[in-house]
Amino acid sequence: MKKYLFVILLSLSLPTQAITLDDLYKRYSPEGESAFDAERGKQLWNQKHTAEDGKIRQCSTCHGNDLSKSGEHVKTKKVIDPMARSVNAERFTKMKKIKKWFKRNCKWTVGRECTNQEKGDLIKYLTQF
């Protein structure tokens, strides 16, 4: 109960933190949503990359194959909350978080930062769920 109250208070006190999808797309392209393609996002999400250690890395390595279910950090085994917004409404609502994790996860998985185009595509794909 306390936790929920805390979350509510937090979201009230920091209204600037919550971001709408439209704003999000506009950040990655002046044209907004129409510039992005969910199919390309899907491909990127499922693309396999070979890391230096010879192991295959892809987004599902940690987030799992079923986006409506919890994932698991491949190294630490810590549970990662589901990516699908249908079960986890907090996904893609905080700009700072989105920025941080795109940077970290693209670097770790793909080996480089993702472009704005790729980020928008990924969001379009992921927010379908």
């Binding site: 950090h73 190294k75 630490t76 085994k77 810590k78 941080k100 940077k103 970290r104 670097k107 770790w108």
Partner: protein, 391 residues
């Protein structure tokens, strides 16, 4: 030899209750000392033991005739002549304690006090709990631990001697002294009179101890899977919201008291290659996190784990992993490889899987349970019994 003509009440009820509760408390203390998990039980038995001894000291002055110290204060000549008598013709019978037994009792009380008082010092020094928390330092606690151990073995030896004495006496006088400590009656000459039983005082003693049992272990009866009962609450460590936010996504957020400041400094210096991850924290964030880590690091030795972790790291080393520190390895080496693979554990870094107070960072001995191990069967059993009794 005294003429034995009648049976009288020699040991009043409080003395007998004291005696047997002391035996039980001593046994529980021995059974619970080794496994850290049962430190709460060990401390419970220690306090009970001390409480009983204090009662006995009072009862030795104000109690009934045979319970008074004055009644069985014999000097060494009397003890020697009594022991000599055992092997000769002059076998003397005492209604209360015989001189040798009396000396054993004074020694038992003395060692008992040394044992429990040194225990309080260990509790204050090592765990920073109890009345001496904050007064005894970690470093000073070593000497008290040694005293505590010597006193424990000394008392065990004395109990053995006392027991042999009781058996010898019982055989020589053909009188069951163990039974007498249950019933309270012994044979006596005609001049001796029964003492008052003092049942009310004994009932009060038992009530107080039962209340103490409930206060200590009652939490196990009401705990749920989400809110397990923490028998030990450690000192409150400083928490930091930003730390919790930035460090808890990929793994459990380790409290800074688990590594020395130089380790945290290195971890943040190498944040671009944090175990193959680029943390990419901005300067402002790093400054705040590092300030928090520095102010609460293991070298401050504010709690036992911090002190032990820090003391086991050579000053030239700067470990990046908690799980590489010698003390950590030593404490966890006995855990089965299979346990680490359990779904509920999975990783060594998943401290909270076993340590109920990992979030708080206190890692109290008694707040640890290996998930899936049902070492708590006895508690489950007790719960069902008490639950049944309540209905």
């Amino acid at each position: 030899m005294t003429q034995q003509t009648k049976s009288i009440l020699v040991w009043d009820v409080p003395t007998r209750v004291f005696h047997w509760l002391l035996v039980i408390a001593f046994a529980i203390a021995w059974l619970s000392y080794e496994d850290n998990r049962y430190l709460d039980t060990h401390i419970f038995s220690g306090y009970t033991f001390l409480g009983l001894l204090i009662f006995r000291l009072i009862w030795g002055v104000f109690g009934t005739h045979y319970a008074r110290f004055q009644q069985f204060s014999y000097n060494s000549t009397e003890v020697i002549s009594y022991i000599k008598g055992l092997f000769g013709e002059d076998l003397r019978h005492y209604v209360g304690h015989n001189p040798a037994g009396a000396w054993a009792i004074f020694a038992l009380i003395g060692f008992g006090l040394a044992l429990t008082l040194s225990g309080l010092f260990v509790l204050g020094g090592e765990e920073q709990h109890g009345p001496l928390a904050g007064i005894v330092s970690f470093r000073q606690s070593g000497i008290f631990r040694e005293t505590h151990e010597v006193a424990a073995y000394g008392l065990l030896l004395l109990v053995f001697i006392h027991f042999c004495g009781v058996i010898t006496e019982s055989l020589l006088h053909k009188e069951n002294l163990i039974g007498a400590m249950f019933r309270g009656t012994k044979s006596a000459d005609t001049e001796s009179a029964s003492v008052r039983p003092h049942r009310l005082i004994a009932t009060t003693m038992i009530t107080v101890i039962l209340a103490y049992v409930m206060a200590t272990f009652g939490g196990y009866l009401t705990e749920t899977a989400d809110q397990p009962y923490l028998p030990f609450k450690g000192p409150e460590l400083v928490q930091n919201e930003l730390w919790q936010e930035e460090c808890s996504d990929c793994h459990f957020a380790f409290h800074p008291s688990l590594l020395p400041a130089r380790s945290w400094q290195l971890i943040f210096k190498q944040q671009a290659d944090h175990f193959d991850d680029d943390l990419d924290l901005d300067e402002e964030t790093v400054t705040e996190l590092l300030a928090y880590a520095n102010a609460n690091s293991a070298d401050l030795e504010q709690i036992e784990p911090a002190w032990r972790m820090n003391s086991s790291i050579a000053s030239k080393d700067t470990p990046l992993r908690i799980t590489d520190v010698r003390y950590w390895k030593k404490k966890h080496e006995e855990i089965d490889a299979e346990v680490w693979k359990r779904d509920s554990v999975k990783s060594k870094a998943n401290c909270a899987a076993c340590h109920l107070d990992a979030e708080q960072g206190t890692f109290e001995d008694a707040d640890m349970r290996i998930p899936g191990d049902n070492s708590l069967d006895s508690i489950e059993w007790l719960k069902s019994v008490l639950g049944g009794a309540a209905k």
